[in-house]
Symmetry: C2
Subunit: 514 residues, 2 copies
Amino acid sequence: MIFCKILQAEPFYIMNHTETLYQQYKEQTQKAADLNNAAAVLGWDQETYMPVKSVPFRARQLATLATQAHEIATNEAYGNLLYKLSSKADLADGAAQNVRLSLEDYEKNKKLSSALVEALSEASSNSFNAWIKARQENDFSIFAPELERMVALKHQQAEAYGYEAHPYNALMDDYEKGATVTLLDNVFGQVKEELPKLLKKIENATQVDDSCFNKFYPRNEQWDFSLSVLKSIGYDFKAGRQDYAEHPFTTSFSPVDVRVTTRVDENDFASMLWSSIHEGGHALYEQGLPVAQYGLPLGAAASLSVHESQSRLWENCVGRSLDFWKGYYPQLLQRFPEQLKAVSLEAFYKGMNKVQPSLVRTEADEVTYHFHVLIRYEIEKALLEKTIPVADLPAYWKEQYQRYLGVTPPDDKRGVLQDVHWSHGSFGYFPTYSLGSFYAAQFFAQALKENPALPGEIEGRQFNNLLQWLRNNVHQYGRRYRSEELCKKITGQGLDLSAFLHYAEKKYAGIYGF
Amino acid sequence: MIFCKILQAEPFYIMNHTETLYQQYKEQTQKAADLNNAAAVLGWDQETYMPVKSVPFRARQLATLATQAHEIATNEAYGNLLYKLSSKADLADGAAQNVRLSLEDYEKNKKLSSALVEALSEASSNSFNAWIKARQENDFSIFAPELERMVALKHQQAEAYGYEAHPYNALMDDYEKGATVTLLDNVFGQVKEELPKLLKKIENATQVDDSCFNKFYPRNEQWDFSLSVLKSIGYDFKAGRQDYAEHPFTTSFSPVDVRVTTRVDENDFASMLWSSIHEGGHALYEQGLPVAQYGLPLGAAASLSVHESQSRLWENCVGRSLDFWKGYYPQLLQRFPEQLKAVSLEAFYKGMNKVQPSLVRTEADEVTYHFHVLIRYEIEKALLEKTIPVADLPAYWKEQYQRYLGVTPPDDKRGVLQDVHWSHGSFGYFPTYSLGSFYAAQFFAQALKENPALPGEIEGRQFNNLLQWLRNNVHQYGRRYRSEELCKKITGQGLDLSAFLHYAEKKYAGIYGF
């Protein structure tokens, strides 16, 4: 051993040293990931099986896990390790990417004082409880003071992060690195410009009938159908499972344990169907992340919008397509012969794609959905610009819904109180839903271009090529590329609404006959 | 405020200081508990719902949680806090008990080097995998080298803890503080002396018929029956739930989230029935621990034997009694009319209490059970005394089964490889099963003495008085008293087999008519 050491030239020594440092970095980073993943298990349990009295202790267990993970991710020794490593020229490419991204996270985390972190966490808890109560009693004034406090803290958070041009940019960075108000103003400018034209055409056509979804569909039969669809799109049940939850979600504890949840309404088949395929899309992404990069940035999803692009691609581009139902409708007829005996494939397809302005975002169709997001985005910006007081939100919300969608919520429960996000302090989150849809359309158009046989494969219930394409183009990279970069790499250009507009125009022209 | 301070005399200041220290102690101790409880959630998930591919990452997540909890519980600052607090005269009684017990834990934990802890953890994992494989292939030689390594490490552990008289005493301390080889030799001496006499009487009587348990009992009906029994004995389903697991267990994440699991064999009604009531007994204990003492010694169970006393009391003294089935058999007949139409209450009761020497501990009756434990106890002691080599265990096991029970396992799977415990390094655990049964008989006799109406209540499916008695006499105290102390406090004397012997003699005289 000693003999070897003497013979070794300097570069090898450095290499070894770098390797040791990298192992230390990996160990710390993965340890924090273990704690966060444990918290995710507790979160999953909370939404699926946890008995009701467990609530307060579960909250403290989750808080402890978060604190412990945060301590690991922000301690100075970890920072020093990252600084040392980031100056090493001999890190392999993947390792260098991990270090770069972890350093980015570390420096960002360090900008928040622990007092602010604690204040945000406490405000989130209070605000969430107030929101629950406000919804129950349909009374915005219960939520208003907590929301005001939250907005003030989000201001402080934006200041602590620092930003150019607009505080919203700083907050967006938590969900969608690189996105800015400039980008979003442009995106939603196009939404405001283009989608009303499409809506006008649809409005002038004969409305389609979606009543076939509201017959009685027994729970078990719905459940089994959703399992069979998840299985055939490639969701690995040996690395995941589906359970019931009131608010469907996907959660991941590693790429080999990714769980989906769905809800079942026996009088609304659409409710289970879209939540299951949507969550399935999220889950395929998580199952496709590289196992070897567990807990490291290259083992994590790129961004919220890219995550949403995966769920929307499967839900909308695939699951709401005529090709898909050409393949699945015969099965569905066998399963629900009574409910569907008088419903043609075409009527079923049209029914599921009914476009109609509505009050609730989560139930909106593919077109009007973006006005729901637009309204939230504009309100968030205005709150941060302090151009609208919190107390005025209910009235302003109603005005905007009338303005963009021509509908007015009869109460705040179906209005300004419908989403949980603001109570959690998630300002800057909503826009990623629209971005996800637009990326989905771009990605799907590119997949079609590269594989013109895709529609036939979908009709034949063969999803392997599509999944493999997503694995190769999106999943395998983890956080290596930001959303726009990734989009450029895949499609040759950055975010571009024309793919979505083209997709929507073509689809609804077929359905509404214009 | 300042005014107050000036007026306050010294004792108040000290009180305040002690109070602050105690709060710090509580915070640290409960933080470690949060991590351990989070690990328990991950463990529960692993045994109930976890998809198969998740195994390796789950193992590392559990290891991280254990390490983090261990770090909190062994760091010097925590120790200093405990030393400081233990010298405070102004601690309230409960607080002083917590500090005393936590200091006991701390000093014990500190005795193990982290190298030994790591070696034990690694050996446990290797040994467990070897045990699984050895069972699958029915080949003890696969397990033997790992078991040898484990025994060597347990020797090291005993040396590190330090002990008087016998290394086994040191290892027992992990499960049953205060128990010694002297105590166990005495206990199992009585088992060897007394139980064969009882067995002889049973052997000379006509054997009872238990074939009614092996008809076809549909899964859902079994499940519903077990839920109704759990509910009526007082298990709170708002603070717990029952799920399926291959090896039934109870786990707790707080007194308001205590989960039981059961197995269902459609061709063996007894399998579900006893596992469900047994686990229910464990769960009633955990649900009865004081919520305000969450994560602290006074919020934890007294010992393994006291825990087992609770499960055995409900399973055997209550669940296998004639009174209980006088109350439940009419319901059972309604649920399973075909299976039980030709079976009288008395035949059903006798069948469930059939005594017959057998090969497998977990399927043994109340009498022969203790010979299974005795054999394991004697082997463990011999391994630590180095008077028997690991390689000789299969042959020795067979000899002992022949000697004590008159049966010989046809293979090691149903012999020396049947239990998981040694693969985990749990030496000193088995005896607590027998101690639990003996304490159960003592406690139940005392409960009867204090409430002669109890048999009638049981027949009337009224368990509230019994549960309240256990809450008052056992559950509320947490770890305040060691097993023997608690037994003395409740019954006026320490561990004493005569209650069990009396109970068994009377019960089987009735069943076997001697």
